[in-house]
């Protein structure tokens, strides 16, 4: 069994997971001017890819070590316990969401919006809705990421076992499942109709790819990643994606993209993680890794500390972000949606996320010190906190 390559903690993972959490928060406030800065406006992939990739990377890193040291059963138990924690977090967020909706149902009564009010019909049958939500079939808008994460974790023990023995085989199987789901339209059902917004059968690819990288894939890819050619191709692809995305906002330039090419390219599917999105994420990663080395001194500076801290407690901060985006949406729709308010909400939201992340760090720190004999379980927050 090959040893897991990098021993130290890669702060870049925490940094970019923190960034992804901030971006997810900003993107989840509908009609928010600050959305313009988020990466989904400049390329094909968005914060979801970063989040899922890093989650796969850290899960493999942490539980892979457990599996090597304590065996398959213990590691699997820990992974499933983690899935359970995420499930509880999801249900908790769902309850908060229902409270917001209960308020909206009363305030939205207007003959102009008879059609849109139909979207709140699930409040008429709360029993059904509740059961479907517990089964992860009913997922309100913007509450799709955690169910994906839960399913990926539940399926992870055998994947991790295989990754430790034959990483290439595991990755090949993952690609095969991705391709099969594309061609056979596999997805999980949603309630009342439709399918999962993040198809677990296709999104697993980026999770498993992250896990593969976390178990030494980065070292194996080393010379490839450092090649000038690869860097050039990645940068060119990012530029290409940027130009294509710009035509979405300035439609008159869309005429410069040949029709046959548009027919081939569109739609760029998020539900099934289009291969163009995957490639865009990989290109971003190649460029990022090239320009931000693991030992970059500024990674330890206090200016990036807030973002790193958010990334270290990703589950808590993710849930908080969802809650804050509900709150932000409430303010923009009920009080004011002026540009100033949108900027204020975005800034306050991120500050709150930082403050809570700091609080969690502080609490873990004193708890760790209190128990005395045990060393600080740093692996736990590497896997996203509170494992």
């Amino acid at each position: 069994m090959p040893p897991i390559a990098p021993a130290g903690r890669d702060l870049r993972l925490d940094l970019f997971r923190g960034l992804a959490l901030w971006l997810i928060f900003l993107d989840h406030i509908p009609a928010n001017i600050v959305n313009w800065i988020t990466i989904k406006n400049y390329g094909f992939s968005d914060a979801a890819e970063i989040f899922v990739f890093i989650s796969g990377y850290t899960a493999a890193f942490v539980y892979g070590r457990t599996m090597q040291q304590r065996g398959v059963v213990v590691a699997s138990a820990r992974i499933l316990k983690r899935a359970w924690t995420v499930y509880i977090a999801h249900v908790f967020i769902f309850v908060i969401f229902m409270a917001e909706i209960a308020y909206l149902t009363r305030s939205i009564d207007n003959p102009l919006y008879n059609e849109e009010m139909g979207a709140l019909d699930f409040m008429k049958e709360p029993g059904d809705t509740l059961i479907q939500a517990l089964l992860l079939k009913f997922k309100p808008t913007f509450m799709d990421v955690l169910p994906l994460y839960i399913v990926l974790l539940i399926g992870f023990p055998p994947v991790l076992w295989l990754l430790l023995r034959g990483p290439t085989v595991a990755l090949a199987l993952s690609v095969a499942l991705y391709t099969a789901s594309w061609n056979l339209s596999w997805n999980l059902p949603s309630y009342p109709t439709g399918v999962w917004y993040f198809n677990p059968f296709t999104w697993q690819l980026i999770f498993v790819f992250g896990a593969w990288c976390g178990l030494g894939g980065v070292t194996r890819l080393g010379s490839f990643m450092r090649s000038r050619w690869v860097l050039g191709i990645a940068a060119a692809y990012l530029l290409f994606a940027f130009l294509v995305v710009m035509t979405w906002y300035f439609p008159r330039y869309a005429a410069y993209i040949p029709k046959w090419f548009q027919d081939w390219m569109y739609p760029i599917d998020k539900t099934n993680m289009d291969v163009l999105r995957f490639a865009h994420f990989v290109a971003l990663a190649v460029v990022t890794v090239r320009f931000i080395p693991i030992d970059a001194s500024w990674l330890k500076s206090r200016f990036v500390k807030p973002m790193i801290m958010c990334g270290q407690h990703s589950l808590e901060i993710f849930c908080l972000g969802i809650f804050l985006s509900f709150l932000g949406h409430f303010v923009t729709s009920e009080i004011s949606r002026s540009m100033g308010i949108q900027i204020l909400i975005s800034a306050l939201g991120i500050l709150t996320m930082i403050a809570v992340a700091w609080l969690i760090s502080w609490y873990k720190d004193i708890e760790g010190r209190g128990s005395g004999s045990q060393p600080k379980p740093s692996d736990a927050d590497l896997a996203g906190g509170g494992a």
Binding site: R106, Y113, T271
Partner: protein
């Protein structure tokens, strides 16, 4: 600089109000309504046969409830506005709006509509039901692309109308992907889009209409629909009046 911008805006607003058909409170959103594409079939129908059959296909947001609902909803308002703008042309607008119809369900009904009503123009209001029922945005887009070709082959020009601006339900209905899909198909197929979402957002932000009030009254809803009908008529008139030959029959 600010003063200059203010004066310029004032002039622009004045000019828009003076020349656009739908003035008054609707007019503040008039700059969001423009014809991006010609509508040759409609133009020919107006000049040659002096008659225009419009069919509105859509869902509940193309209707208003109550006994007067049908007369107050935008399809009926469009008919009146068009009759005013196109004197001497027999304008008929038929509303075929039904609750909860997805784009696919509406598209399935198009052959029958083409056969029975022989429309020269189809106003296709869609997106909301698909977003609410969780139809994938990609398959939604594919449905629109296929259906538009068939409508044009069947002799009808098409205007898309996107969803209403409804800030409260943003958290439960994620419409952005569907609005993008509609814009795309309009662009690719050179069709006109009536950006209802943008227009209503403008009204809400400028305080023209209070769209957030909880009310049972139809007052505001009726005004909103009247404005939509008039702005839609403006768009149709603009699209056919680019040809100077046809200009003389249109009342500015």
């Amino acid at each position: 600089m600010k003063l200059f911008a203010g004066i310029l805006l004032g002039i622009l607003t004045y000019a828009t109000a003076a020349f656009a058909g739908a003035g008054g409170e609707c007019g503040v959103a008039a700059h969001l309504v423009h014809a991006d594409a010609a509508m040759p079939r409609v133009a020919t129908a107006i000049t040659k046969s002096k008659s225009l059959n419009v069919v509105v296909v859509g869902t509940t947001s193309s209707t208003l409830p109550g006994a007067n609902g049908q007369a107050l909803a935008y399809p009926a308002r469009l008919e009146i506005a068009l009759q005013k703008r196109l004197p001497g042309v027999a304008v008929k607008v038929i509303s075929m709006a039904k609750p909860r119809q997805t784009a696919q369900e509406m598209a399935d009904g198009f052959p029958k509509i083409l056969k029975d009503e022989k429309p020269t123009l189809v106003v296709w209001q869609t997106g909301t039901a698909d977003a609410m029922r969780g139809i994938g945005a990609e398959s939604f887009q594919a449905t629109l692309e296929g259906a538009v070709d068939r409508l044009q082959a069947g002799g009808a020009d098409v205007i898309f109308m996107n969803m209403q601006y409804s800030p409260r339900t943003d958290a439960v209905i994620s419409t952005a992907a569907y609005a993008d899909a509609i814009r795309w198909v309009a662009l690719e197929h050179a069709l006109n889009l009536f950006d209802r979402q943008g227009v209503m957002r403008q009204w809400s932000e400028l305080g023209t209409f209070d769209l957030l009030a909880a009310t049972k009254s139809l007052d505001t809803a009726a005004k909103v629909h009247d404005c939509i009908g008039r702005l839609l008529a403006d768009l149709i008139v603009e699209a056919v009046s680019t040809d100077p030959e046809k200009k003389d029959i249109i009342k500015q």
